[in-house]
């Protein structure tokens, strides 16, 4: 119990003194997860609209598949990305393994099912009357999709929040494809994992608190956007 207390006080010390290593790790976590969430959203929101608004054979199956992948183990994706980008692998020529870039790519793959699935769900929740009204007013397919997305913005924002949460809090993928290299690919979650296994609880607790703080701020911010 005493260690936890010691850990907490040391943690607060580290945070208040703006310890450079802690800040560096936190900044990197944020950069990588914000980038992956942003890029994945850019891709998935239009893709979700395409899937939702069109009829095609196998649509039901595709949506079921997407939902199945909601909780795919991060180590599984990590393994897949590792084998893909290893120098011995098909995309090895890009030399991206153990870099922040491949971590962003990996996280994008990880959160794509969530973004797709929840956005499609959000669009389905919009009254058909809105769709009919837009079409009857002469909206093109694209304009109709935009207006339905706007009507569903609350739920779509929730999907983005979920995606970000999953990205910034996962360990398996970051560890496997990033390598947890100090000063280069170490993020909050992999650092906590390493420091805890090495017995340095103070740093772990500090990082844990910061991670929760980041998650809270991003959540609140996106929440305000939702309310509008």
């Amino acid at each position: 119990m005493i260690e936890i207390w010691h850990g907490l006080t040391k943690a607060i010390e580290l945070i208040i003194s703006l310890d450079p290593e802690v800040l560096e790790i936190a900044g990197r976590s944020l950069r990588i997860s914000v980038a992956s969430t942003f890029l994945a959203s850019l891709l998935c929101i239009p893709l979700s609209s395409l899937i939702h608004f069109h009829r095609f054979p196998g649509k039901r199956i595709l949506i079921n598949l997407i939902q199945t992948f909601f909780s795919i183990p991060t180590v599984a994706i990590g393994l897949f990305v590792f084998v893909l980008f290893s120098r011995a692998g098909p995309l090895g020529g890009l030399n991206l393994l153990f870099t922040p870039t491949v971590m962003v790519l990996g996280q994008m793959i990880l959160i794509t099912p969530i973004l797709l699935g929840l956005t499609i769900s959000a669009l389905s929740g919009v009254d058909k009357a809105i769709l009919d009204t837009a079409r009857s007013l002469g909206a093109s397919g694209f304009q109709t999709a935009v207006v339905v997305l706007r009507e569903a913005r609350f739920a779509v924002t929730a999907a983005v929040i979920m995606g970000f949460g999953r990205a910034i809090s996962e360990v398996g993928l970051a560890l496997m494809v990033g390598g947890n290299i100090r000063g280069f690919t170490r993020v909050i979650t992999t650092a906590i994992s390493l420091e805890t296994s090495k017995g340095d609880l103070e740093l772990s607790i500090a990082l844990g608190i910061i991670l929760i703080f980041i998650a809270l701020v991003v959540n609140i911010a996106l929440n305000r956007i939702q309310q509008r």
């Binding site: 009204t133 837009a134 009857s136 002469g138 909206a139 706007r150 009507e151």
Partner: protein
């Protein structure tokens, strides 16, 4: 050339046939009301006319062009029409933005949008609520926004699906007033669906009766109400007295019909021996306590079985050997002291009788 023409239109949903063999023409500038009971297919027909859904078979022509198949021509035709659906639907944004949507999508400039939207807001009496979120409006106000939104794009055809179905009487009369204004101001062709036949009568100059997916009769509003073509139409337009009988004789257009012992006189071309239905509108029946001297050729005595107040009128059910239903003013009912079991004389003119061939 009619603005819209529909030929042999069928619409099937799986096993169910929603519309059968629809053939109608809509002329430029006219107000056509499609009346029929709930579930008759009115909404389906409007969706097909607005080119939002595809028919199972048949053809649709807009301004002379075949718009049945998907493509550019169909899309352009749709853009010349506007549809107000039955459920008051507004986008989750301000009243102003709601109305401006259609214009924005057509690429109109900001100042021209402002001009149009402001003038339309005035017309529907919602200028004060310009910046309110449309979701906070009442049903009647939302429906006015929907109509304003449709008018803003200056459509050649305005389709209205039961525009006042979900509203209270005050909102209803406001909207009817608005529609009348639109008719006078813009000469827009209007196609409206309603189950309220009196609304159809008030607003339209032509009526189509849609029952069970089929158009049973089209004609001027008066014509449909007084001369229904068959039993179903008659029932729907409020002819409550439909009595089966056989024509006894025809003397220079004046016929006597045997309705099982008693005879009814009417004006018709049908010859003796024909089996017919005698239709009398309940408002055309006069009630009296004594056999008053009147020009009515049909007079029957009977006992009142029921007296029911209906708004400002009173419905009186009488047994004259055959059932007769009369609709009199509340005042008349009070003056005569109408009550159950009373003996009354019911009379109606021969000219007030409509004959349907069986």
């Amino acid at each position: 050339m009619s603005l819209i023409e529909v030929r042999s239109l069928y619409k099937r949903y799986g096993e169910k046939e929603a519309l059968k063999n629809i053939n109608i023409k809509v002329e430029r500038g006219e107000v056509l009301a499609i009346i029929g009971p709930t579930g008759a297919g009115k909404t389906t027909l409007l969706y097909l006319l607005d080119l939002l859904e595809m028919p199972t078979s048949g053809r649709i022509y807009f301004d002379g062009m075949d718009v049945t198949q998907p493509g550019k021509v169909r899309l352009e035709a749709r853009r010349r029409m506007a549809f107000v659906i039955q459920k008051p639907t507004v986008f989750n944004t301000t009243v102003y933005d709601n109305i401006a949507y259609g214009l924005k999508w057509r690429g109109a400039g900001k100042s021209s949008i402002r001009q149009k939207v402001d003038s339309i807001l005035e017309m529907v009496n919602l200028s004060a609520d310009k910046n309110r979120n449309a979701r906070t409006l009442s049903g009647g106000e939302a429906q006015r926004v929907a109509i304003a939104r449709a008018l803003a794009i200056e459509p050649e055809v305005l389709l209205l699906d039961e525009p006042t179905a979900n509203l209270d009487p005050v909102s209803t009369s406001r909207i009817e007033e608005l529609i009348t204004n639109v008719i006078h101001r813009y000469n827009t062709t209007i196609i409206m669906a309603t189950h309220d036949m009196s609304q159809g009568q008030r607003l339209a100059n032509r009526i189509g009766v849609l029952i069970n997916g089929e158009i049973l009769q089209t004609g001027g509003s008066i014509e449909v109400f007084t001369s229904p073509r068959n039993r179903e139409v008659a029932k729907f337009v409020g002819v409550e007295n439909i009595i089966d009988g056989v024509i006894l004789k025809n003397e220079e257009g004046l016929v006597a019909i045997d309705i099982g012992g008693k005879a009814i006189e009417a004006v018709s071309d049908y010859s003796a021996g024909e089996e017919v239905c005698v239709c009398v509108r309940p408002e055309d029946i006069t009630l009296a306590l004594s056999p008053a001297a009147s020009s009515a050729r049909n007079s029957f005595t009977g006992k009142i079985t029921r007296v029911v107040p209906v708004g400002p009128l009173t419905r009186v059910e009488i047994d004259c050997g055959f059932p007769l239903i009369a609709l009199v003013t509340k005042r008349s009912a009070e003056e005569l002291n109408l009550a159950s079991a009373m003996e009354v004389y019911a009379s109606f003119k021969a000219t007030g009788v409509h004959i349907i061939k069986k």
